[in-house]
Structure formats: C-alpha cells, structure tokens
C-alpha cells in the first residue's frame, strides 16, 4: 500500500487534469463529433477541412482541433462545437466543406459566430439559445450521456477533469458493503432489457462460493437500429470502466472483461486506449489509487452472433465454445465464466454506477419513477424528425418522447406504430402512446424496454412486413439448439412471408398465433422466448392489416410488393412530360397513341422510380392494392 490515501492520490490526478484543461481553454477549440455515426456522415473529412482551413489562415498555433464522441443529434451530423474564448461554445450541424470554410473565416478569423448556422449554444448566454431551451432539451435529462460528445474520449484527463473517478476514490476508503448498499438503495435496474436489480445480482455473486469472481460488461449490442452502447463506449469509455472497477471492488473481483462486438472497431480502440491510460494513472491494475485492491480489465471481441448477447451464450463464446445458450439455473452469479461466479451487466448499467457513488442513491432516485429510477436511453430512429440518441427520465410517455423530444414525424405523416425493444420487443399503436416508459409499464403493454431501440413508423409501413422483418432477423440469428426457436421461428417466418405475398389462407392467422405463443412459452433462452413479440403485438393491435392481406389480397400501407401495382392515372398525366419514361429501368413505360403514358404491367418490376420521378404538379403515378387495374383502364386496354 502507498503512503498516500486514495483521496490524496486522486486529488493530484484531478489537479493535473484540470490544469491541462484550463491550459487548453485559453486557446480556441474545435470539437468534431467523430463517433461512428459522425464518421459515417463524413466527420473525418470535416476534421481535415478544419485543419486545412485553419492552416491556410495561419491559425494553427491558436486553434486546436479535437475529436469528440456523439452528442446524440444524429439528424444533424456531421457536427462540431467551436469554443472560442470570449464566446459561448456553439454547436454547428450539417457541416460541409463550404460551411467549414465560412466558419473559419467568419468566426475563427473575424470573430463573428455566424449564428445563422448555429444549432445551439452549450452554455447559458445572452445571445443564443442552448440545447436546454429546445423542447428536446426540456424533456431530456442527461445522466450517463452528459459528457458524451463534449469530452475527448481518448484522453483520460478529459474525464478526470470533470470529476471522473471521484466515485472510485470515494468508494475505496469505504467498505465494499457500503458500495453494495448504495447500489441497492438506488434500485439500479439492469439496462440490458430485463431490468433485474443490479445490486441483487452483485449480492448473489458475493454469496456464491468461489475462489474467483469475474466482472463482465455486455457490449454485444445487436438489435437492428440500436446504438446506445456503442456511442457510450466511443464517447465516454472511462465512465463504463469506472463502473466496472467499482463493481469489482464490491464483489471482490480481480479480473474483468468487456465483451464488445467486433463490428464496433472504434469502440474497441477507444476502450483499449482508455484501459491503457487508466493503468498508467494507477486507476486500474495493481494497487488501485494506492490501495491493496487489484483489478484489471481486458477486451473480448464478439464475432457477430446476436445470441451471444444472451448471458450463457456470451460466456460459452468467451470460453471458446459455440456461442449457444444453456438452460438456467445455474445462473451466472453461481456458475459463470470458467465456472466461477460472474457479474454480467450491460454498458449502461455500469455507466450509472460511478454517478450513483459520486452523488448518492437519493440523487439517483430523484429522477424517474419509484419502481424504475433514473433515466432511459433510446436510439430514436425511423420516421421521426430528430433522430438520435436521447436520454429521458423513466416515466416519460412515448408521446412526449416521439413528439416533443423527436419533434414528431416528418412531412406531416400520420403516426402508426412505435417498435420498442428491437426483435425482442413489440409494436405499440397510437392508443399506447401515453404509456409511461419504464420496465413494468412497457411489459404490460406487450413490448419490452429491451436495450433501447425505438423505431417510429408511419402509414407507409406495413405491420405484417415489419413483423416479418424482425422474424427474419431472429430466425437468422437463432443458434439452432432448441426445437421451438430453430423450427418454430422458421415456420412463423414462412407463414408471414406467405401472407405478405397474398398466399395466406383462413388458417394462417390462427396457426401463426398458436405457434407464436408456443415458441414464447417453450423456447430454451430469451432469444426464442421473446422472438414472437413483434408478431404477437402486431396481431393484437393491427389484426385488420393481416386480415386485409389474407382476405382481400390488399396491403393497406401499399408496401408489400406482391400485393400492389403501379398505375398512371390518365387524367393527371401530362402529354408534355417524359420523366417517368426515362426513370424506368426496364422500359415498362410507353407513350400511348393519345400521348399519355402507360405502364406495361408485364415488364414493371415495382421499383418505385416512376412514382418518385413524376413531378409534384402531376402526381399521376399511384400504387394500387390489391393489384387489380381500375375498370376504365381495362376498357382502354381493350
């Protein structure tokens, strides 16, 4: 043990970090959001543009360009924050090389912050509104996302300077039992989806007999459309690492792993760097903060199987076996990795731990509902204006989340359903929009909190196709071990495919529903048990759409290709326009003797090009379901 107390050692680290931060603040800083979402939108090029423009104005000595993570406003990527002394820090979105040029010239050189291009300021000021002033900011409450996109994820000092690792310094002078009591008092429920109290999980592990205990972070995020865990690991890795160290201290573990899927290379790199820096600072490894507590972390990269997010399959995969689930019990807390008691929590669960220890259980319980305290993090995607990563207090309603935080649906489209919880979750209709978001209410409505994917759908989305899409996913990801999941999901998918092709019959729905219930009740693991949820909820709330497909051969959303045809309405078509003819890849559109256009149904591949190409003043191309030509067309054809 060191001669210094953890508090003394921490104070030194903190002061060093703060002085580095202060020194940086004397210069102008450009923070480019380069999480995977930003990179996909071109952020790395934007960073190069900034560097080039700054160089060309000979400002390189006065301006630093940093990479930061994701602030959650995906719809406005690529984006950057400019913090210039004398001005509030301002965020600019939808950047391109022209805008970068303009910002460097007008703001960095000439001191005009170009408010016409600004999204929001980051701190209160007299000139420009902040994110908190927008509806989204009023409903959002950022706990674990607070630093994401604002700190340099690749510099431990950036995290330290904002009181990072102070929870660890505080806990190390207390007994492990104190940390456990605090987490239990906070009623922190697992954010992987099931909502099992983390404190109870840890306690079960402590009570298990075993000469070693492992702590594992589940970052095998695999739901289509979900990217919360990735963003946190990329943008604020130390928050998760600190949470894991605190957990290890509580349960007495010396070794832990972050199970990160290999498709997240940036997350892997950032976590790897974070681990090295934490070790250098004495925050990880042997004799943490000068105490006799030793704990080290390693990354294990998953190989792309969705089912490996399931606890027992994850452990099997780490042990070098096929990534397949086992029957439980024994639970991981009794017999986990290498047969030893193991704590497995989601990225977000660990991310709350340092905040709870830093601020206390009562602080945590101020947010959210009594049964589900804290916040919920969602990746809000689909037919919604402000897509992105959002964090709202538990208990917020779906309506607030979609219409206030997400600013509603684009182009005045009508809301139809919201899919929550990914392939394991359900589709909820308009009537369920006032359901508060918490673990229990969502379950009662037929969906699950899941890991936090939230997809908004409008009138153009066919609910049978949506159910089919998710079933295709789970069927593809089924490990094949148990009968219900291997064969049951296959038959369910076949029935759904038949229905979307108009080949369903009177028995299809009854069989589908029966089979869905049996797969739910009979499967070995939670992948199979929850796979029928998208089917069961759409059958419950959108049964009329299934019936329209089966009985009338009609897709009400005009989405199922086999049940629609494209038709040019003669009264709307203009003889002067040829756009649709040029847009057709199969030359199915021809000019009739009277000069109007017509589609040869034999040649049409239903690619949708002509509908998009037809100028707005005509809007002559329509989709018709069931695929039967209108009577006047039949007459013309004769």
């Amino acid at each position: 043990m060191s001669n210094f107390t953890p508090a003394e050692i921490y104070k030194e680290l903190l002061e060093e970090a703060i002085s580095q931060g202060e020194a940086r603040k004397e210069k102008t800083r450009v923070l480019v959001g380069t999480a995977t979402c930003g990179v996909a939108a071109g952020a790395l090029k934007i960073k190069e543009d900034f560097l080039r423009e700054i160089e060309s104005k000979n400002l390189s000595d006065d301006v630093d360009v940093f990479e930061v993570g994701c602030i959650g406003h995906c719809y406005a990527e690529p984006l950057a924050i400019i913090a210039k002394p004398g001005h509030p820090a301002i965020c600019y979105g939808r950047l391109d090389d022209g805008l970068v040029h303009r910002l460097v010239e007008d703001f960095l050189v000439a001191d005009d912050p170009s408010y016409e291009y600004a999204m929001a300021a980051l701190e209160r000021n007299d000139v420009f509104p902040t994110f908190e002033d927008f509806p989204r900011g009023i409903y959002e409450k950022k706990l674990i996302l607070e630093q994401c996109g604002f700190i340099d994820a690749r510099d431990v000092n950036s995290y330290l300077a904002r009181e990072g690792y102070s929870g660890l310094a505080k806990a190390l002078v207390e007994k492990p039992e104190w940390v456990l009591e605090e987490i239990k008092a906070a009623n922190l429920r697992g954010r992987g989806g099931a909502g099992f109290p983390a404190g109870l999980k840890w306690e079960a592990c402590i009570k298990s007999k075993g000469d070693a205990i492992y702590v594992i972070c589940n970052a095998d995020e695999g739901d289509p459309g979900a990217f919360m865990d990735r963003s946190i690991l990329e943008s604020d890795p130390h928050l998760v690492i600190e949470g894991m160290i605190l957990c290890a201290y509580t349960v007495g573990a010396q070794k832990g792993y972050l199970y990160i899927r290999a498709e997240y290379p940036r997350a892997v790199t950032h976590v790897q760097e974070a681990l090295e820096q934490a070790r250098m600072k004495g925050l990880l490894g042997n004799s943490i903060l000068g105490t006799d507590f030793n704990f080290d972390l390693e990354i294990f990269q998953g190989s792309g199987a969705f089912v490996c997010g399931e606890a027992t399959a994850l452990v099997n995969s780490m042990e070098g076996k096929m990534g397949m689930p086992e029957s439980r019990p024994p639970r991981l807390a009794q017999k986990g990795y290498r047969g030893k008691p193991t704590v497995l929590n989601n990225v977000k669960t660990f991310a709350y731990v340092p905040l709870i220890i830093r601020n206390g259980a009562d602080w945590f319980k101020e947010t959210g509902t009594p049964e589900s305290p804290g916040t919920a993090v969602f990746s809000l995607v689909g037919k919604v204006v402000n897509t992105g990563l959002v964090e709202v207090p538990m208990g917020t309603t779906l309506r607030q989340l979609i219409y206030d935080v997400g600013d509603g649906l684009p182009n005045d489209r009508e809301f139809k359903a919201v899919q929550i919880g990914g392939p394991s979750g359900g589709c909820l209709p308009e009537s369920a929009l006032d359901v508060p978001i918490d673990f229990d209410s969502l379950q009662d409505a037929g969906a699950i909190m899941g890991s936090g994917g939230l997809v908004v759908m409008d009138e153009d989305d066919c609910m049978v196709s949506v159910a089919r899409y998710f079933l295709e996913f789970t069927q593809h990801e089924s490990c094949g071990k148990c009968t219900f999941c291997r064969l049951g999901t296959k038959h369910m998918l076949d029935i759904l495919t038949d229905i979307t092709k108009g080949k369903g019959d009177g028995d299809s729905l009854a069989l589908l529903e029966e089979l869905a219930e049996d797969v739910r009740d009979g499967s070995l693991c939670n992948l199979g048990r929850t796979a029928p949820n998208p089917v069961l909820t759409t059958l419950k709330y959108f049964r009329d759409e299934y019936i329209a497909h089966i009985e009338e051969g009609r897709c009400p959303a005009l989405a199922c290709r086999d049940l629609i045809l494209y038709y040019i309405e003669p009264p709307k078509c203009s003889k002067l326009c040829n756009v649709c003819v040029g847009s057709c890849p199969t030359e199915a559109i021809f000019t009739r003797d009277d000069g109007l256009k017509e589609i040869d149904q034999e040649k049409c591949v239903k690619c949708d090009n002509c509908l998009k190409a037809c100028p707005g003043e005509y809007n002559a191309v329509v989709k018709i379901s069931p695929p039967v030509l209108p009577p006047e067309k039949v007459r013309v054809a004769k």
Partner: protein
C-alpha cells in the same frame, strides 16, 4: 441430511436421489415423459428437444424435466393442457423437418418418434406444419453403417457416444439455426474422418439417421437386435 427426497409424480409417492433430475426420477419409476436429447450423465443438460415438459406445483409455466432437480415435497404432473400443447407443437415441429418415409427407414417400429407419437397420440405426419425436410446426400462411406441427415433430429446422442463413450470426437454440431447439422471436421465423409467406426453412435441413434447397412447378413441381425 438424507440422501433421498420425497416427491410426487402424477400422484405416485417417489423417493428420488438428491440432485437427480425429474426426468430420470420419473423414468426410473416407469412414469413416461417423452424425451430425445436427455443424457443422464451429462452435467449440464442440452435441453434442446423441448419434449420433456412437466408441470411443477408452484411454477408459473411448464418446465423441462431434464433440467429440473428434484426437491423435497415437489409435486409434479406429467400431463396438463399446457404441457400437452407444448409437447405436441415441439413434436410436430421436429416432424416437419424429419423424413417421414417410415416404411423405408431401418428404424421403423423401433423409432423413438413412433414411440412418442403412440404414447402421446400425435399423428406421425406433416399436418399442421408443412414439410421443410431437405435433401441430404447419404454418407455411406463407413463399412457397416450409413448416415442419412434427413432423418436426424439433432438430439446429440451420437455425439455423446462418440465423445464420452468412444472417446473419439469425430462428430459434432456445426452451423447455426435451421442449418444446424451433425457432421465431421471439414464435413468429410465419416470414413475419411478420424471416426473409428466403433458403431457406438449407431447404437445411440434413437431414430434411423445412423443405421446399419442392410445388405450384409450379420448387419441386419444387429439391426434387429437393436430393434428388439
């Protein structure tokens, strides 16, 4: 502490060894529970076939008896509406992926599927679910036996025999989901693999997937021995 616990299965009072699983306690006492993948010695049951559901008093839904340890005072019922429904569906799902040309099958009349169908009164045909049986090339490379995957129910009995009894390790499960198969390393024909042709896997197969070739006279004897 006693080495035995008292349980009730279908109204029969039974003394079962502590740590025993319900499935084996029932079978030891001539109480039938359908099962395909259960292996008594296996430390962690495979629990894949989903046929051995029973009701345990106090449990909210049927549980697989192969994974449930007996506990003092446990009250078990092997049949209920919920159990029968799950077993029927699981069984019919297995049939939907099983070559049902029983008359051509060497396991005809000794097949566990036929036995389950008879005892649980489920029809042996593709009825509720359409057939998704795929065509496989029969591996008849070994001298005395052959492997027809279109009859395989993926119970894993052959793999246990190969690994734990014969200590060879020639076969195992590969691929995922609907494509899961029992095969050799690199999908080699059995005769080209490390298989020693000890025949223990053939003896272990509860259906006609691994079977003795019938053209040689003593082989057909073996088949009838197995059948009896």
């Amino acid at each position: 502490m006693s080495e035995y616990v008292n349980i009730t299965i279908d109204g029969h009072d039974i003394k079962a060894k502590k740590g025993e699983r319900v499935l084996w306690a029932a079978l030891d006492n001539d109480i039938y529970i359908p099962h395909l993948c259960g292996i008594r010695q296996e430390e962690r049951p495979n629990a894949g076939c989903r046929l051995c559901f029973v009701e345990v008093e106090g449990a909210s839904r049927p549980v697989t008896s192969c994974t449930k340890n007996v506990e003092e005072g446990m009250v078990i019922t092997t049949r209920s509406e919920r159990v029968d429904r799950l077993v029927k569906t699981a069984f019919e799902l297995i049939l939907s992926d099983h070559n049902l040309k029983c008359r051509e099958c060497p396991a005809n009349r000794s097949c566990v599927l036929q036995d389950i169908a008879k005892k649980r009164k489920i029809k042996l045909r593709h009825d509720r679910f359409k057939s998704i049986v795929r065509e496989f090339e029969i591996d008849d490379s070994p001298a005395e036996f052959a492997f027809d995957r279109s009859r395989c129910v993926l119970c894993g009995q052959c793999i246990w025999a190969d690994r734990e009894e014969a200590k060879v390790g020639a076969i195992g499960f590969t691929k995922r989901g609907i494509n899961r198969v029992v095969t050799t390393f690199k999908d080699l024909p059995l005769a080209e693999s490390i298989c020693t042709q000890c025949l223990l896997c053939v003896e272990a197969c509860p259906v006609g997937a691994l079977y003795y070739k019938k053209n040689e006279s003593d082989d057909s004897n073996k088949n009838s021995e197995k059948n009896s």
